[in-house]
């Protein structure tokens, strides 16, 4: 992957220029599908875009010193990391990529969560600190399962390259891994039943309580981009390889859209769990499957 391809992937397709409208579209789909399930009309199509523009035009409270600087920096870091993660997705077949880009994608997907934790603590708000502590506990809980599932997929197919993974025929183990990833994604995206860090009305707005105006707009954008990256990762791993790129892109988009709908149904149908229940769910119920997946991957590797 040379510099021009890398820049084109980061800034145009599937990066910034393409991913930002898709992020707004996914945010709208999430709200609209919940509205339709409650027999309401729901927000208009351009609602996330209007929210973004409106937030750009609002003033922010003046903050001085290192705290103010950090509070400006965290949302920007989160957005850049999320754009980088989306840019690595192999939407176009034979679009390049390098050995180990799966590891880079996982690292970039973690950055927004770390930024949110840091943002809550640097805002010095009591509610922000509670939200950050919850986010930290949640991150530790679901990431074990998430990473074990992805490592077992990559390990059983002998590659850490996204494009190779997308092209290899899927095994039953891979579907087990994708299922484990799907269980972790609601926690990663802070939607019900794992909307603990940003538990609205319960701890105000969690880590983002003190954020306003353009900074809040950046947080919303990074949240939307996380949706794109997470659903794109699942689509990459779960979809069979299609020979024609013009057929591959619509299938990829339709599958991502389907996952967004599935997660919205889950969010609308469930209520928020308590933090101890959530942690117990990930450590006691899903960890078993992740350990099963990685041990069977090891077993397959030894036998082959």
């Amino acid at each position: 992957m040379n510099l021009i391809t890398a820049l084109a992937r980061l800034l145009i397709f599937p990066g910034l220029l393409f991913a930002v409208p898709v992020a707004w579209f996914f945010l709208w789909v999430e709200r609209k599908s919940v509205a339709m399930m409650q027999e309401r009309i729901g927000p208009p199509f351009m609602q996330p875009f209007f929210d973004f523009i409106k937030l750009l035009g609002k003033s922010t409270p003046s903050r001085s010193g290192v705290d103010g600087l950090l509070m400006k920096a965290w949302p920007l870091i989160a957005v850049s990391a999320a754009v980088g993660a989306v840019g690595l997705l192999p939407v176009l077949p034979s679009s390049g990529g390098f050995e180990g880009d799966l590891i880079l994608l996982l690292a970039l997907l973690e950055v927004p969560a770390i930024c949110i934790i840091a943002a809550g603590f640097s805002s010095r708000s009591l509610f922000g600190e509670i939200g950050s502590a919850r986010e930290a506990v949640l991150t530790v809980s679901y990431n074990i399962v998430f990473l074990l599932a992805i490592v077992s997929i990559a390990f059983s197919q002998h590659t850490f390259r996204l494009e190779a993974l997308a092209q290899l025929p899927a095994t039953p183990l891979r579907y087990l891994g994708v299922l484990a990833i799907l269980v972790c994604i609601p926690a990663k995206l802070h939607i019900n039943p794992f909307s603990l860090p940003n538990a609205e009305q319960e701890i105000y707005s969690g880590p983002l309580t003190e954020y306003a105006g353009p900074e809040l707009a950046m947080w919303q954008l990074s949240h939307g981009l996380e949706w794109v990256a997470a659903t794109g990762l699942v689509a990459t791993l779960a979809l069979p390889h299609v020979a024609f790129w013009w057929l591959g892109i619509p299938i990829f988009a339709a599958f991502s859209f389907g996952i967004v709908l599935l997660l919205s149904v889950l969010a609308a149908a469930t209520a928020r769990l308590a933090i101890d229940t959530t942690v117990r769910f990930y450590w006691q119920c899903t960890l078993v499957f992740a350990v099963l997946a990685i041990s069977s991957a090891l077993f397959m590797r030894i036998r082959s």
């Binding site: 709200r31 509205a35 409650q38 027999e39 309401r40 009309i41 729901g42 927000p43 208009p44 351009m46 609602q47 875009f49 209007f50 929210d51 523009i53 409106k54 750009l56 035009g57 609002k58 003033s59 922010t60 409270p61 509610f127 609205e200 009305q201 701890i203 105000y204 707005s205 983002l208 309580t209 003190e210 954020y211 306003a212 105006g213 809040l216």
Partner: protein, 172 residues
């Protein structure tokens, strides 16, 4: 007006985020405000969002007749809402102090402490009236443009009720 300003005005009118504050209300108006967010009235089709933090909000919805203990809180929360902002006084209490007039625990009405843009009268007002008030406030917000209105200095809150100058009148 250039394109960016037009887009900004349009976005402000279509994305009013609310923060709800109770300044000593009997809960009647609070229930009606919550009812206007329910699926039956579907405020979300107007872009309305009830936010958890005053920092995120554009429109401050205040219920209640403003008791002495809540005056400081009202002023603090008003200052925490980032500009441009609008205030909607929900119910008759913040407008006139309603049936609690002459009470010695009140520092109301609300517009003695912060500038109010829209009054929604009623005891309590119906959810559709509240939504109409919110939409009106969003229009005011859009017209206010990019300049943030500096609130006129609030008069010092009187420690005694309005009618205490005339002893005997209206007192039990």
């Amino acid at each position: 007006m250039n394109l960016w300003n037009k887009l900004m005005c349009y976005s402000r009118r279509h994305s009013p985020w609310l923060f709800h504050m109770n300044s000593g209300s009997c809960n009647g108006c609070d229930i009606e405000l919550v009812a206007s967010m329910t699926p039956r009235y579907d405020a979300e089709q107007l872009g309305v969002c009830l936010e958890g933090s005053p920092r995120h909000a554009d429109i401050l919805c205040i219920t209640g007749p403003v008791t002495h203990t809540s005056v400081r809180a009202v002023q603090t929360v008003y200052a925490q809402v980032c500009g441009p902002k609008a205030v909607v006084a929900i119910g008759s209490c913040p407008a006139t102090t309603n049936v609690f007039i002459d009470s010695r625990v009140l520092a109301g009405p609300l517009n003695r402490h912060i500038p109010v843009d829209v009054f929604v009268p009623g005891c309590p007002p119906r959810p559709d009236a509240i939504l109409q008030g919110v939409v009106k406030a969003a229009e005011i917000l859009a017209e206010r443009g990019r300049t943030v209105r500096v609130p006129e200095p609030a008069p010092a809150p009187q420690s005694t009720p309005l009618s205490s100058a005339e002893p005997g009148e209206g007192q039990p």
